[in-house]
Amino acid sequence: MTTEPPAAERSLWARLRRTVGDGTVADFVDRGVSHPLFWLLPALLFIGVFQLYPMVEVFRMSLTDTSLISSQESYVWLENYRRLLGSERFYSTLRVTAIYSVGSIVLQLGLGLGLALAIDYGVRRGLRGPLLTRVVVLSAWVVPGIIIGLVWRIMLLETDVGVVNNALGRLGFEVVPFLSDAGMAVVSVIAAGAWRGTAFSMIMFYAGLKRVPEDLYRAAKVDGAGPVARFRYVTLPQLKPVVFVVTILVTIYSLNSFDLIFALTNGGPGRATEVIALAMYKSAFESYQMGMAAATAVVLLVVTLTVTAVYFRVFDISEEI
């Protein structure tokens, strides 16, 4: 007797074997490893646990009246949003955030590009100093924002002890109310933020400048382009993708700024320097209204996403990226 299965069965058996393999562990591992999911899993797990889940949880919380001082929690649905959007405080923080962000973006991009150009110029000419400059500027970036806030607060003290006011005093100026005048406080906060963030854009721009082929500059020189024309027609177009990325990142970072302002002014005087992220913190840890804080966070997320979407529209980067 033969044990050979009939033709139809044979092909079915073959199909089955193809689908499930021959059942050995090696075969199982082999097929698992060859599947994209296997390689995506660590990243998916990480993003899921640390980003997606908290985001969903924040959104859920924004629909409740969760409080830090009560274990009771009930769904109030859109009540938090109604209260938030109906309060004058929200619009004031929105305005401060906008001013702070625009100021930060302009200063960080401008100063970052200027420094990067200076360093690039130095490196291309074999001058001494670019390394030292990079180290000094970068050290501002590696120091935590909260410490920078404190350092600036000490520097800007409105007495003779404050470094800046002391220097101004020696030059014959009056004491400047850097932190107690509403307008000056905003300027101080923007300056401190830019002082810190410039290092980041400088590094990005510098990396971008390194990528510009030297031959393009040589060709432009032969073509008769002076330094300004070379910057305009060679450097800037080549930096466009970097400008795009830096603008987006600096914007997101500015919109979400918290630590430095918290340490420097804590939103004061009054609410002159209270940005959205700081208002959110205060809702959560001073008023203990987690639901309200969560709603603020969701609004901040929507604002950030909107601004980023606008950037994608405005910058035509389809060719470069």
């Binding site: 082929p213 060709a219 032969v222 073509d223 008769g224 060719e319």
Partner: protein, 378 residues
Amino acid sequence: MARLEIDGLRKTFGRGEDRIEAVSDLSLSAADGEFLVLVGPSGCGKSTTLNCVAGLESVTDGEIRIDGEVVNDRRPEDRDIAMVFQNYALYPHMTAAENMAFGLKMTTGLSAAERRDRVESTAELLDIGELLEKKPRSLSGGQKQRVALGRAIVRDPAVFLMDEPLSNLDASLRSTMRTEIQQLQDDLGVTTVYVTHDQTEAMTMADRIAILREGELQQIGEPLDCYYRPKNEFVAGFIGEPAMNTVRVTRRGDTLVGDALEYPVPRRADGLPSGEPFTLGIRPEAIEIVEAGTGAATGTVEVVEPLGETSHAYLTVADATVTVTTDGPGAVEEGERVGIDFPAQRVHLFDPDTGAAVARRESLPGEVTEEYPASRHD
């Protein structure tokens, strides 16, 4: 149209102990409308020289003159030159037309319409009319190189400077472009300095070749002159493919004697002292295969590389490898023992210490001469 003169050019980089002399006391000139090729191995100073002429590098010492005027201190755009770069150096965000018009926009007062006209007529010349609205990244290597050429031509400069413009192209395109550039240069009649490390390009394109080594000029002359009458061993080895064979010989009476080689002293070398060593050079294509035991030497064929019309055979003669270019396939076989011989007028002799040619032949083949009847023992 212009005459380019380089007079005592010296260029050094770095300071103190790191100081490198890239070009030392280089003097040469290109006549109006001449196609001059600077050739040499990498690091020989050819590109540095070109950059000095372009004004992209400052000159340490010496003078560069275009049409008699010293241009050392002029900016590149004030030198009336245009340059073509090895990797094209097209502005990536501009179309081909914008790339070509950029120099005109920067240096002339031409209106956009006038610029456009000039770009279009140049594009027609180069047959790239349909590429004008494309950006460099959608062009092939050959098309990019044409646009880069167009960018130089449209400026209508006094001197073209080309820095290895063909080395990024594949072999077949390279030979097409070679002919095309030559043709263009002929038609336009613009003085051209062309830098390459490829001796084939140098030989085929140049009116004259300047061979450089370690920043020093070795020889300048017409391609065939450099080929048949090299001034030194370096030039002899650098020009010609495959490279010239060289063996150490000593003059003994009327004979040059080397390891397993004996050859009568050519008549033009009669004056050389006896008992002195020399380097004998002979080009692979000058060697004839003769019966083993006859001719100048006998050796064993190790490898044969058939190329179609010709083959390269590598022979072991004593301890040395000798390359021979033979006619067609089948002239010799691997493992065969054969003799080699060569005509006296193709023999080159060099001083073994300085490498300088001694008893150089006085004329090129084909020139009427009583110097060399076509015999071995002239």
